[in-house]
């Protein structure tokens, strides 16, 4: 499967550009900065416990260029960058460095210290800052300037100010990081890496939790860093970002490079094909549902729960999918939480199946509401338990008899839904949930509510961190459920999701509903416009 980067995945000139947000304008900006950093990884092989997860990867990471590393969950992206960052030692292959002075050096493995010394810094998806410390302290974290054994606060602030200035950001140096927004905290983390002389910056899905505005700001830094000659490795799921930011692209599939080359040479659909091995990534509207929606299942009338949202009017009828679209923090998740009894409405009226909303989740489940939280690991998965238990948990009262329940019952429940949702688990219901990929885990959590027979599904960011293939499966399943009379409310910050899923879309900005789009009005342009760009 090993191919040389330039040789594989050559685009077909005849192909027309894919639909969607992917425009090729951004990629043309590739400035040939000074190539201070050069890393040529050759034939990288890595196994975990007898399973080979990287089968010989060739990747070039060059200073002054942005490399987009694409691939579905489990394709080996994280493993590869961990090898580069010195967290994993590869079983075979070499990492060849060329220093600024042209000195060649080839190593078979890096330790974290060696990676640091060469200027390689990783920004992980999860924030790794110290929330109680200030912005300046966080930027200096790990290398605080000292004078006579004490922290030199003046030098610390000066260095933080310099770095933020060079990034073109204005943040209060004395604000505790915990009080900042997610996007700002990420900037602080990048500033920390830069103040520590990063020459190669690895960003692991940095935009997963960012608003469109914050994404644009992030892209501005990335371009600025590129101009300064920093090598940037950008891991992402989102293809529109590749067109916007990347100079080069490497696609991994099942631990091997399936496409590589300059980003401008690839169309979106080719990248999708390289990622999943089939062409399903085109963002397009589903065929209009031929069934008329039924009675209103969920009604918000001038409902408010300050400071999260105010004066929200919203109706979801049986048999329709309504998407609540807004940036992270716009209140969409809080509206969803209200339906599931995680938040109380303080004003106006909310009716679920014509009744008062539940006061706690257990009551909501009894009313027939199913719920997926945005953070699957923290709020959804029973990670040490089997798939069967995870799937059956809300249905235990029904599946048990005098409090007793056997694994056979859960096995049956799993078999009922595994084919419907195409859950890939070789070990069946007995397999631990933790051993599944993100997409399959999410399918199991969705199957919970199918098994429970929920008539109203409230889903927050249902496909975050889910690979393209599993995403399509989840959409298909949701459409099928709606067609059979279930009402679905999806709170999302992903406009492509809205386009692919919604019968109606309600757009929120800062806790208020700003627009409602009917089926024929839902386009990526209309959505981004309504959400304030």
């Amino acid at each position: 499967m090993t191919r040389t980067p330039a040789a594989s995945g050559r685009p077909h000139p005849s192909q027309t550009p894919g639909a969607g947000a992917g425009e090729t304008a951004g990629a043309a900006v590739a400035t040939a900065g000074p190539a201070a950093f050069t890393l040529r990884a050759r034939g990288i092989v890595k196994s975990f416990g007898g399973t080979e997860v990287l089968h010989g990867i060739d990747v070039d990471i060059l200073g002054g260029r942005v490399l987009a590393l694409l691939g579905e969950n489990g394709a080996g992206k994280s493993t590869f960058v961990r090898v580069v960052a010195g967290a994993h030692a590869p079983d075979a292959g070499t990492l060849g460095f060329t220093g600024p002075d042209g000195a060649e050096e080839s190593v078979t493995a890096l330790d974290p210290l060696g990676a640091r010394r060469r200027g390689i810094r990783m920004i992980f998806q999860e924030l790794s800052d110290a929330p109680d410390l200030t912005v300046a302290e966080n930027i200096g974290l790990g290398h605080w300037p000292r004078r006579r054994g004490f922290v030199d606060w003046r030098a610390l602030r000066r260095r933080a100010r310099d770095v933020l200035d060079s990034m073109g950001v204005d943040l209060d140096l004395d604000a505790p990081v915990g009080t900042l927004r997610i996007g700002e905290r990420q900037i602080v983390e990048i500033a920390r890496a830069l103040s520590d002389d990063a020459t190669c910056l690895v960003l692991d899905e940095p935009t997963a939790a960012l608003s469109a505005e914050e994404v644009e700001r992030l892209f501005r830094f990335v371009r600025r860093l590129r101009a300064q000659g920093v090598a940037i490795v950008y891991i992402t799921h989102r293809l529109d970002e590749v067109a916007a930011i990347a100079d080069d692209v490497v696609v991994l599939r099942d631990g091997a490079v399936s496409a590589a080359g300059p980003a401008a040479e690839f169309h979106r659909s080719e990248l999708v094909t390289a990622m999943v091995g089939r062409d399903i990534g085109v963002v397009r509207r589903p065929d209009a549902a031929d069934t008329e929606p039924g009675a209103a299942v969920l009604e918000f009338r001038a409902a408010g729960s300050p400071p999260a949202y105010e004066n929200v009017d919203l109706t979801v009828r049986a048999g329709e999918i309504v998407c609540l679209y807004g940036k992270v923090g716009s209140g969409t998740a809080d509206v969803a939480d209200t339906v599931f009894g995680r938040r109380r409405p303080a004003a106006g009226s909310v009716h679920v199946f014509g009744r008062e909303p539940a006061k706690e989740p257990r009551q909501a489940i009894d009313q027939g509401v199913g719920y997926l939280a945005a953070d699957r690991q923290r709020e959804g998965a029973l990670i040490t338990r089997s798939i069967g238990e995870n799937l059956a948990a809300p249905s235990w009262p029904r599946l048990s008899r005098f409090g007793a329940i056997g694994a056979a019952r859960e096995q049956e429940a799993f078999e009922r839904w595994s084919s419907t949702l195409d859950i890939k688990a070789v070990g069946g219901a007995d397999q631990l949930l933790a051993t599944l990929s993100g997409g399959n885990q999410q399918k199991v959590l969705l199957a919970r509510w199918l098994e429970r027979g929920s008539k109203l599904l409230v889903l927050v960011e249902p496909t975050r961190g889910v690979d393209v293939g599993a995403r399509a499966d989840i959409y298909t399943a949701l459409r099928a459920m709606a067609a059979q009379g279930a009402a679905v409310l999806v709170a999302t910050s992903d406009y492509e999701e809205v386009v692919q899923l919604a019968d109606r879309a309600v757009v929120m900005i800062r806790g208020r509903v700003t627009r409602e789009l009917q089926a024929d009005q839902i386009t990526t342009e209309a959505l981004t416009d309504a959400a304030g760009g």
């Binding site: 399903i280 589903p286 706690e360 690991q377 040490t384 948990a393 007793a404 839904w417 919970r448």
Partner: protein, 397 residues
């Protein structure tokens, strides 16, 4: 330990601080697999167990079918060519097997060193010695699986023992027993409510309770041993195979508890609450209620142990069972239950108990001073917890 499941905010915190950040990568965990494979009797099917209508999904719009060859290569299939049962064994066996190897090695060592070790009398001695610890460690395992811990067990046992003895001096024996069991339940209830309703960290709440109960015990006993007549049956009778009653009780309780943890909603709810308190609440599991019940069970175990101690000594000492919580926690963690919650089995705890029992007994036979035995017990706890941490780290990678 974690705070209770009754609140999202409270339950986000846990002592190791690991859990929230560790589980982002799906991995092949080295987790003791407790998933039962046995099937439930078919005749227990309730009438209302009919599943909801199956949703039929048309996959053609997405341009794929389940037989798509590309679909077979997705991450879920990594390393998963072995049949399910083989996988299960591969994951769960090494841990329990390793423990059994340690146990067998210890037995072999002491057998070689002391001719008395493998005699019938001594084996019964070991069983009797672990019975008191075990009857507390079984509900303790349930608690740790739910992410909680009870440190008040040692002084609780002494308290129940002294209360029983003092009440029995002036009243019927049975009244003393009832008082002891009632107090055990009360202690468990107070612990449970402190942890779930007031959301006091379980380590701290039960550490406080440990001191409170030891003090009350001394007060009640006026600092002296209370003698007790006609109550030796519970501790010393050997009704079956020459095994004393406490050993039989431990065996019965362990089998019962193992079944409960495997085959009941209660057991599963404890696992769920320990595995992820927030997620458990969001699937409708009554984690808080289940934790209170587990604390009450722990209180019952404590009362029972107190009675057994009384009976074995024909007296109740206010200093009885000092430091018992140490052996209890060691046995549980050694047996594979994780301090982070969500993992552990009753079987593992039994093996952990046997290792401690054999070690203590063997060292005594070899005339090792009790001071050094104390050193060994502490070291064993530290080793057990270190293994727990290593296990968590490897399952994270």
């Amino acid at each position: 330990m974690k705070d209770t499941t009754s609140s999202e905010e409270g339950s986000m915190a846990n002592v190791t601080g690991k859990k929230q950040t560790t589980d982002t990568t799906p991995t092949e965990g080295t987790v003791p697999d407790t998933t039962p494979t046995d099937t439930a009797p078919p005749d227990t099917a309730p009438a209302d167990a009919t599943p909801p209508e199956k949703v039929s999904v048309d996959k053609t719009p997405a341009g794929r079918t389940s037989t798509d060859p590309a679909a077979g290569g997705t991450p879920a299939s990594k390393g998963g060519d072995a049949p399910p049962t083989a996988r299960r064994r591969a994951r769960s066996a090494p841990e329990l097997a390793a423990l059994l190897v340690v146990l067998v090695a210890l037995i072999a060592f002491f057998w070689l060193k002391s001719p008395y070790f493998m005699t019938k009398d001594n084996i019964v001695n070991v069983l009797t010695a672990i019975a008191v610890t075990g009857i507390i460690a079984i509900p303790g395992t349930m608690l740790l699986i739910a992410g909680q811990v009870d440190l008040s067990v040692g002084s609780g046992a002494a308290f129940c023992g002294v209360m029983m003895a003092t009440v029995s001096q002036n009243h019927a024996l049975i009244l003393g027993v009832l008082v002891a069991v009632g107090l055990g339940i009360l202690i468990g209830l107070v612990n449970g409510l402190l942890v779930t309703v007031l959301r006091v960290n379980a380590l701290i709440a039960t550490l406080g309770m440990l001191a409170v109960l030891r003090g009350l015990t001394e007060v009640r006993a006026h600092g002296a041993t209370v003698t007790l007549a006609n109550f030796s049956g519970l501790g010393t009778a050997r009704p079956f195979l020459n095994i004393p009653v406490p050993g039989l009780l431990l065996l019965g309780i362990a089998v019962l508890a193992a079944l409960v943890m495997r085959y009941t909603v209660f057991g599963r709810s404890l696992y769920a609450a320990g595995s992820n308190p927030v997620a458990a609440r969001l699937v409708g599991v009554r984690g808080g209620k289940m934790i209170v019940v587990a604390f009450v069970l722990s209180g019952v175990g404590v009362a029972l142990s107190g009675l057994i101690l009384d009976s074995q000594l024909s007296a109740a000492s206010p200093n009885a069972a000092t430091g018992l919580e140490l052996s209890v926690v060691t046995a549980i963690v050694l047996g594979g239950a994780s301090l982070a919650g969500g993992r552990g089995t009753i079987q593992g705890t039994i093996v952990g108990l046997l290792i401690i029992g054999v070690l203590n007994n063997g060292l005594t036979l070899l005339n090792v001073s009790s001071f050094y035995q104390q050193v060994a017990s502490g070291a064993l706890l530290i080793i057990a917890v270190s293994f727990d941490q290593l296990r968590l780290r490897f399952s994270k990678l």
